[in-house]
């Protein structure tokens, strides 16, 4: 059975256990660091990311399958850059490849975080980041963020349903164009309708920003260590 892409999957690995705040902070810090990283450092961080993802039960194969569309776009981008770079084909290709590689590592990190963190915990983490800011309804923002994070798996899930519906009545026999067109249209309508339904469902159960939470986040010493490691990776990435 295929899971919706980017969806949370249950588990009790170390990465699952790390506090959502630590994971989000690490994600942001390392991603920023990577923006300046050299080719070598990018590769090193890539390897570490791979190991972390593996330890969290995320396989490279799953990841590649789920983000293959992005990969295609990156390859096309790299080729386009190579062809158009004023410095020449080879330097252009190298620069394009490094840029794409950074992006791939960032996606892999984000993927690992979303696969190991409950959407509810992401919401709580965002809320706790926003809490010190005055005049921000942090619970609203948290809910919004969590809903947005749920949005991608939803779209993928919905597209799987549309595909099933089409397949059940022999829609696979149609031309490529007609399939894409009908999927895109149906998907769009359904996603909006679903968003509508979710909003109604939330309202119907008396949503308010003055809300409490069943789960709390508990900060532990390993979380501090995790952040420190992430920060040092980022510093190394920028300095080297």
């Amino acid at each position: 059975m295929t899971r919706p892409k980017f969806a949370y999957r249950d588990g009790d690995t170390f990465v699952h256990g790390v506090d959502a705040r630590a994971k989000l902070t690490a994600l942001v810090v390392v991603s920023l660091g990577l923006t300046w990283a050299s080719a070598g450092v990018t590769a090193a961080v890539g390897v570490v990311t791979y190991l972390v993802a593996r330890s969290a039960g995320v396989s490279a194969r799953e990841l590649l399958r789920d983000v293959r569309l992005v990969l295609v776009i990156l390859v096309v981008g790299t080729v386009a850059r190579a062809v158009s770079d004023p410095a020449g084909l080879v330097p252009g290709a190298v620069a394009g490849t490094v840029a794409s590689a950074r992006f791939v590592v960032i996606i892999a990190l984000a993927y690992t975080v979303s696969a190991t963190t409950r959407p509810g915990d992401i919401r709580l983490a965002v809320e706790s980041f926003l809490e010190p800011l005055p005049s921000v309804e942090e619970t609203d923002w948290g809910t919004m963020f969590a809903t947005a994070a749920r949005f991608f798996p939803l779209v993928f899930e919905e597209s799987r349903r549309v595909r099933d519906a089409r397949k059940a009545r022999l829609g696979e026999r149609r031309s490529w164009y007609s399939r894409v067109r009908s999927t895109a249209f149906t998907l769009l309508i359904r996603t909006f309708r679903r968003a509508d339904t979710v909003a109604l469902a939330v309202e119907a159960r008396a949503y308010s920003s003055e809300r409490s939470s069943l789960r709390g986040l508990v900060w532990e010493r390993t979380d501090t260590a995790f952040i420190l490691v992430a920060c040092s990776v980022a510093v190394v990435a920028v300095v080297v």
């Binding site: 519906a165 397949k167 059940a168 009545r169």
Partner: protein
């Protein structure tokens, strides 16, 4: 004929089907019963190759569904439990025409089939409406029409009576019986056996993804199926 041979299917690591062997004869009328989560939908989805077995095989007229999914889908028309998720087009007319179009039929033939299918379920008035603005029962009728219009050999119906009013239920039951009398095979997964109990010749009860009981509805309901979470029709109480 549809044959399940030792079929197992896992969903998220759990066995939704576990060693199902079953033979459904052409022209048969089979009720598929069992509590929520017992595997009815999963079984129906194997019949038209929306799912394929992890172990064992499903044969439609002797051909394994994992070798020829398209062939299975031509022969077996499936109406989804969630009628809304079956809709693929912008108007009712286009949606009902979707299947016949895929069969590559002539325009006149498509039009004829659409009209016939829609009137059979009492939904003619809905032809130009958007399927996304229909009531639950209207949607269910449209979903059934979309499959009827393909004139498949086998109708696999997942909770076909849910959401329907009395008239809708009567129209759907009549249509299904009519199809069966025309020689079509009918498999109905339902929590409400009452309207079908005198019509079906066989009932199969699933429990935890396996066949727990298999017999005539009369036999099974006389004995009572409450232990499997199945409501006994009034006529047997």
């Amino acid at each position: 004929m549809i044959r399940f041979e030792g079929v197992a299917h896992e969903r998220d690591g759990e066995r939704a089907l576990d060693g199902v062997s079953l033979e459904i004869d052409s022209g048969g009328f089979v009720l598929l019963l069992g509590r929520n989560g017992s595997g009815k939908t999963t079984l129906l989805r194997h019949m038209n190759a929306l799912l394929t077995p992890d172990e064992g095989s499903v044969l439609v007229d002797g051909v394994p569904t994992d070798e020829d999914g398209e062939g299975a889908r031509r022969k077996v028309g499936m109406v989804f439990q969630d009628a809304g998720s079956q809709i693929v087009a912008e108007t009712v007319k286009d949606d009902v025409a979707f299947g016949p179009e895929n069969l590559g039929l002539e325009t006149d033939e498509i039009r004829e089939r659409v009209d016939e299918a829609v009137s059979a379920v009492g939904a003619t008035a809905l032809l130009d409406r958007s399927p996304y603005e229909l009531s639950g029962g209207e949607l269910r009728r449209v979903a059934l029409a979309g499959v009827l219009a393909m004139r498949p050999d086998v109708l696999a119906l997942d909770e076909p009576l849910a959401d329907l009013d009395y008239e809708g239920e009567k129209a759907v039951v009549e249509r299904v019986v009519g199809a069966n009398q025309d020689g079509k095979t009918v498999v109905v997964a339902t929590h409400d056996a009452e309207p079908f109990v005198d019509l079906a010749e066989r009932a199969v009860v699933l429990e935890d993804g396996s066949v727990a009981e298999d017999g005539t509805p009369d036999e099974l309901f006389s004995r009572g199926l409450e232990g499997y979470g199945v409501r006994t029709p009034c006529s047997y109480r």
